[in-house]
Symmetry: C2
Subunit: 382 residues, 2 copies
């Protein structure tokens, strides 16, 4: 059964000191329900992507809590929290997609939420996506692990720190026109290059922030979708996994989970990489976006740098990437990011993206957990 | 499409100081795969129930980690962690069931795992299933919340502390014959009554321990199941939710999520409460088992005490409950419990339960998150 997204909503992303976990997910959820034009009682199931409410807030059981605060407790619908590090949002999307594609449910909400500013050691928590015993106990954290991959890739294929900087510059430029973005200001290559290293070659301005934020989408079967909207956006979604610890991967320069998830998503959607008009990628670090160009088939292995150098992935280029500003500038609200990506692609395909609007019929989003042990690829069509 | 369980496996439950998180889930998973007679490469997806690996071990992203350590990383299969407090295992079972029932996957592993002994404040973590802002910040923890319900129920319907004690006595007696159980020794009513209160009327010996443990099951479509086994156990599964904070529930004496999930599971399985021959219930506290008798329809509201007083739910009674020893005596490895319950029912329906064997054709398991904001009911048939 074909699955459509019929409603989308996002909170602002950023350091939302004045708002609680509950407030931000309610904001996103209500926007999505209003956008879809459905009533709350029509929702048959709720899938929530959240990475670490336990460590951030000492609160588990958050899907039931969200259903409760969203006024759905009387309905008693199944409320399912899923977690795959910062791919938790994408995972919620994929499980919700399966629940509708299977015919089990007709209308399902997928949401992602993370509240990170209320806690001390956010980097320690973010690094809990890596293998604690084989990576973190040895002193590595998430930036260090990505830096290892980046160094090898740059050495092998001639990448420069300036290339990485171009990704940050592009994504900041895009975020200027995104009302929900955390950093709505342009930055220059020089600013990126002059920012301090956090794990060479990655600098502060190569790194996505860790943000508060929530996003929600309403999924429906095609038949139901047609009743509610003239602009359903149809999706196909696939997930794959890989070794968690980098040491076990045969080739650090390819994210196998991305390759596998993309292959399956392309197959289901009956499109190829060349058919993609717009993409939201997982630029937790600028380098990751370049690696993902390659593993998604947008560029040959080692040629990802050319796309950013030649402006292909800018707004106005052949394949705009991260028109939202991406994780880097829209903000990375961990478990919310995968859903936030879907919101951007849907708004673009519906021609509702305002000043950042591009011409697109087929979109793609890629959400990654940690250094790539989980990848979720979603293809969107008008 | 009908869904069958074709393989089951459990680690020992208890204080497993000498074993790591990784070792216990590997043990359970390999037993289940061996029991099913499948090869690892036939597994199409993995669902993992785990409540708090973040807070317990600073490790999130555990489904990918488990796939990795189980040797499935090369396959790159979807690995999905789900969480609903101590109903996480049941939730993994339900999501895996949906993945097979829908025809999307043919062979899926559902596992549950929790490693709790490596951390300090286990009660604080267990209480993260409750509403932090409205319950825990006010000083309540999980035993206190259950005690509130128990006091009201006992007052309204004439329950005695001796009645609660009988549940603990029964479940300890059953655990003597369960090789994986944490407490393989009988206790007396007097011992229970003489144990210290933790939240009146609930005492230490009314309370399930917080245990280490892992359990895994292999689910398959009927067609595939018939190839691998002559004793498939077919399941139907349903989930429901309720208000998290007790203050919002209209009636403390009924767990609405249990009532709703049971109604749906009975409907799907085309059976009623009277058809159930054996059940594994969620006796996180002895009182909970009595409340669940009522909400599942085994007894009328207020009459649950009669079942335990009259021996109906003993081995040898009309409806044996918690032949495994239940959470109280088999141990409560939080996210593993929902799968561990399935293992017990499958072993009973296959006549492989050794000295605790009962005569049963239709089984039921109930897994609850916190004080009942999540409930998952599964019906099993030979």
């Amino acid at each position: 059964m074909r699955v459509a997204i019929i409603g989308v909503g996002c909170s602002k992303f950023g350091e939302l000191w004045e708002k609680s976990f509950r407030e931000i997910y309610l904001e996103a959820g209500l926007k999505a329900i209003e956008d879809a034009g459905i009533e709350g009682k029509e929702i048959e199931a709720l899938y929530v992507g959240n990475m670490s409410s336990g460590m951030y807030l000492n609160q588990e059981h958050v899907a039931a809590l969200i259903a409760d605060y969203a006024g759905l407790a009387e309905l008693g619908i199944p409320a399912v929290r899923v977690e795959a590090a910062d791919a938790s949002g994408g995972l919620a999307l994929k499980e919700a997609y399966m629940a509708v594609a299977s015919g089990i449910h007709k209308i399902v909400v997928a949401a992602g939420v993370e509240k990170v500013t209320d806690v001390g050691d956010a980097m320690k928590i973010a690094s809990s996506s890596a293998d604690q015993e084989w990576e973190c106990f040895a002193g590595a954290n998430l930036p260090a692990l990505y830096a290892l991959i980046a160094r090898l890739h740059m050495k092998r294929f001639g990448g420069k720190e300036e290339d990485l900087a171009l990704v940050a510059v592009k994504n900041h430029k895009n975020a200027v026109n995104n009302p929900i973005a955390q950093f709505r200001r342009e930055i220059s290559v020089e600013e990126v290059l002059n920012s301090p290293y956090i794990a060479e070659p990655l600098k502060v301005l190569d790194s996505a922030p860790i943000s508060d934020g929530a996003a929600a989408i309403v999924l429906a079967s095609e038949e139901v979708a047609r009743k509610y909207t003239d602009t359903p956006v149809f999706i196909e979604c696939a997930q794959a996994s890989d070794y968690v610890a980098l040491q076990n991967r045969k080739d650090l320069l390819t994210m196998n989970a991305v390759v596998k998830a993309a292959r399956e998503a392309y197959r289901r959607a009956k499109v190829g990489a060349k058919d993609i008009d717009i993409a939201e990628l997982h630029d937790s670090f600028t380098f990751a976006e370049i690696l993902e160009y390659e593993d998604l088939g947008f560029a040959e292995k080692g040629k990802g740098y050319e796309l950013i150098r030649e402006g292909v992935t800018e707004i106005g280029g052949d394949l705009p990437v991260n028109t939202s500003g991406g994780l880097k500038a829209c903000g990375h609200a961990i478990g919310a990011t995968g859903i936030r990506q879907a919101v951007e692609i849907v708004q673009q395909l519906r021609n509702e993206a305002g000043k950042r609007q591009v011409d697109a019929e087929v979109g793609l989003s890629l959400n990654i957990g940690g250094t790539g042990a989980t990848a979720i690829v979603t293809i969107y069509k008008r």
